[in-house]
């Protein structure tokens, strides 16, 4: 006996500004928004905001170091982006991701690796270097939007632009956040890593803007 399913589909474009939160009550996390603009500033691709899935272990370890706190008498080993264990202690440098132009060891970073994140990731799989040569993107400075709160959600924004002057298209598959920690010098640690399903092509002459928005929902 055959069945006929009748349904009327509706497709709506939701203004991202009206998306209150993607987090469940009690969650602290981040959302990612990806915007590609051509050389004239016209938006050609816009994804998200969507849930960032992947605080990795270094985020929790740096929080642990500040929370405990880890002093010179009780340092804690954390693996940096060079795959070196660093005996870290509490510091004003912890979690700093205020990167300058061209700085690829701090702040929002992008890459071409597409392996799913694990909690033990300590570095981007295949970081895209800063520059205008083939396969490179020009990293802008990281900027911040101040914290704000509504009835359920607290948030702030971390933003970085990546311009493609390489002469060819580049597909971004992974996005991450590098932050500072301190042992006897500033070290760099992976705090967040996410993979973009299917990749995000950045045509030559276009700019990718990444908005990470750390949030807490009640």
């Amino acid at each position: 006996m055959g069945h006929e399913i009748k349904a009327k589909s509706t497709l709506k474009v939701i203004n991202p500004e009206k998306v209150k939160t993607l987090l469940m009550p009690g969650e602290v996390g981040a959302t990612i928004e990806l915007i590609v603009k051509d050389k004239d500033g016209k938006i050609t691709d816009h994804r998200g905001p969507m849930r960032s899935r992947s605080f990795v272990r270094q985020f929790l370890e740096l929080l642990w170091i500040q929370a405990r706190p880890a002093t010179t008498l009780a340092k804690y080993d954390v693996r940096d982006i060079t795959n070196t264990l660093r005996s870290c202690l509490w510091s004003g440098d912890a979690f700093n991701c205020d990167a300058a132009i061209a700085e690829v060891t701090k702040g929002v970073v992008v890459g071409t690796g597409n392996t799913a994140p694990t909690i033990d990731n300590y570095v981007m799989e295949t970081l895209i270097a800063h520059g205008v040569a083939g396969g490179q993107l020009q990293y802008g400075a990281v900027t911040f939007g101040a914290p704000a709160s509504d009835a359920t959600t607290s948030r702030f924004t971390i933003t970085r632009d990546f311009s493609n002057g390489s002469g060819g298209a580049i597909t971004v598959f992974e996005i991450g956040l590098y932050v500072d920690g301190y042992d006897t010098a500033t070290r760099n640690f992976l705090a967040i890593r996410d993979v973009v399903g299917g990749g995000l092509p950045i045509p030559n002459g276009s700019t990718l803007t990444v908005n990470y928005q750390p949030q807490a929902a009640i």
Binding site: L60, W64, R68, D120, A216, I218
Partner: protein
């Protein structure tokens, strides 16, 4: 994502477990996001960020004296001493990360896990418990033990650590704990000040702690990839 749960366990004076209650924490507050913002954005002493402390007083907070100064800094500290003791907390003023000079004291019952009797609904902009129970053995008071961060473990896809504190009722009467929370620190290099800020607040549904009983409050903070 980062989440937390809290566990309330009531013990007799002989250490016998009398009751246990476990709930998801729903309530990381605005101040937690603000402290993360201060750290992520490298707020410096020249242009500090304004926050509201647990006494509802506006305070300036920074992450560093100047960009790329590495001084010891007590921002986001949670672990603390017993309620009758003081913790010593660097503001980042000292240029020597080892000496830890220029510190500010914070009492143990204003740092780490705290409990109270307030029953008002939680909103993100709560800056303190509704009515915090202070440390002591007088009427309506509980004796705060140390707040212990313990047990950091990572096993893909999860990671977690635990915060734990004992509260002893020596007040001579029963006390009902209606709310629990975590107070963490923020600091200001310029005046080498350190203040407590509320980063979580949760309602318990009411846990009656009789005289001589102990209450153990445990927060488990978790991330999952």
């Amino acid at each position: 994502m980062l989440t937390a749960k809290f566990i309330l366990e009531r013990f007799s004076k002989d250490g016998k477990l009398l009751a246990k209650r476990e709930r998801p924490s729903r309530s990381f507050l605005f101040q937690f996001i603000e402290l993360l913002y201060v750290s992520h954005s490298e707020i410096t002493a020249a242009a500090p960020y304004n926050m509201t402390d647990v006494a509802s007083v506006a305070r300036t907070v920074d992450a560093q004296w100047t960009a790329s100064a590495f001084n010891a800094k007590s921002n986001l500290r949670i672990g603390g001493p017993p309620g009758g003791s003081a913790s010593y907390n660097p503001s980042g003023k000292a240029l020597n990360n080892v000496a830890y000079t220029d510190q500010q004291t914070i009492e143990g019952d204003r740092l780490g896990i705290v409990v109270g009797t307030g029953v008002g609904a939680v909103v993100p902009t709560d800056v303190a418990l509704g009515t915090r129970i202070v440390h002591g053995d007088g009427a309506g008071e509980l004796e705060y033990g140390g707040c212990e961060p313990i047990g950091l473990t990572i096993a893909d896809p999860n990671g977690e650590f635990t915060l734990r504190r004992y509260f002893t009722n020596s007040s001579g009467g029963g006390i009902t704990v209606e709310e629990v929370g975590i107070y963490s620190l923020g600091s200001d290099w310029d005046g080498y000040f350190v203040w407590p800020f509320a980063i979580t607040r949760d309602l318990t549904g009411g846990v009656a702690v009789a005289n001589t009983e102990l209450l153990r409050v445990t927060y488990v903070i978790q991330i999952t990839v």
